[in-house]
Amino acid sequence: MVRELTSVGVAGYSVFLLYLVYRLGQGSEAYDAAIGLIMSPASIALHLIALVLALYHTVTWFNVTPKVIVIHLGEERVPAFMIAGAHYAGWLAVSMIVAWAVLGT
């Protein structure tokens, strides 16, 4: 059930993003006020909760990828840890790209 509840975190964060988009459309002042909110302790606390849920989601999601993706090389099945591992590796790479793109250098 915990796994199911992570979806609340997933959607919750998107609601937050949506709010930022909404403020973005209202102009600089409105947006900057909104983005300023992330400095508040309440926001930080919510973010931390969301992070735990998100990581739980990521781990449970990647760990089952070998069940869905079955690759055989010759007669040998590519072991589960390699398929999940590839996802983790991709995840790290994408995360770095995202951080770079959002935060700039």
């Binding site: 089952v64 869905v68 055989h72 010759g74 007669e75």
Partner: protein
């Protein structure tokens, strides 16, 4: 025979009991005993009225599944020495109890039949026996081999929360067995099986809890089979949606 162990066993005899009860038995402890040995000891030496199923006592006939301390297990492959304290034995969850540890398999048999677990060839494409076997490379064999390992023990059904809530769900083993044929290079009947597998009662009820695979004693991985069927059925669905003129382009 100094050491003993206690087994607390679910009893229900429909003719005399209105409610199930638990009965506790003390059995000798032998390190090499499996739980089934202890249950057999009870039947042979203490209480002949206890009823349960078993046969091969080597983990292959699939008949000795029971809940052991709440977990579905093949009792001929679960060792006494791995348990401490009283062991609680109940019939597999999710099925109607017939008596004691015996539950009804009717539902599964009907479901198994509904996925058409046999080789289906297209009209006129049967190979005559005189022409020998269908060729199938080891590589093609491994595609479906894992799903042939199912011993129909029902542990996966007992573990699946979705089946527990709603037994219209086709369930892990039946779907895995459908996939077993779908992925067999000799088979051409996938379309026919989709009727059951891709229905509401089929793969779409499964929320990928994964407990089925966790308890499966034969590493069939029904959870994986179901997810792969979902992917394949989704591809089918969109193909059909987008290419209304030809089912499979």
């Amino acid at each position: 025979m100094d050491k003993t162990m206690e087994l607390e066993i679910f009893r229900y005899r429909p003719e005399q009991d209105s409610e199930p009860t638990f009965q506790t038995y003390e059995v000798p402890f032998h390190t090499e005993w499996v739980i089934l040995d202890a249950v057999n000891y009870i039947k042979d030496e203490i209480d002949g009225t206890l009823s349960y199923r078993w046969s091969c006592r080597m983990g292959v006939c699939g008949s000795c599944g029971m809940m052991v301390n709440g977990v579905p297990k093949l009792t001929c492959a679960a060792f006494l020495k791995d348990y401490t304290g009283k062991i609680r034995i109940e019939p597999l969850e999710g099925f109607p109890v017939e008596r004691d540890l015996i539950f009804s398999m009717d539902d599964f048999i009907a479901k198994l039949k509904s996925v058409k677990p046999w080789i289906i060839r297209k009209e006129g494409e049967d190979k005559p026996l005189e022409e020998g076997e269908y060729l199938q490379t080891p590589r093609q064999l491994v595609e479906y081999q894992q799903y042939t390992m199912c011993i129909n023990c029902m542990l996966c059904y007992a573990a699946c929360p979705v089946y527990a809530h709603d037994n219209t769900f086709l369930g892990p083993a039946a779907i895995a067995l459908g996939q077993r044929y779908n992925m067999d290079s000799r088979d051409q009947g996938r379309d026919q099986r989709q009727e059951a597998i891709a229905s509401h009662e089929g793969i779409w009820q499964c929320t990928f809890v994964g407990e089925c695979s966790a308890v499966c004693p034969k590493d069939v991985d029904p959870a994986g089979a179901i997810q792969r069927a979902k992917v394949a059925s989704t591809i089918d669905y969109f193909k059909e949606l987008l290419l209304p003129w030809g089912k499979k382009s």
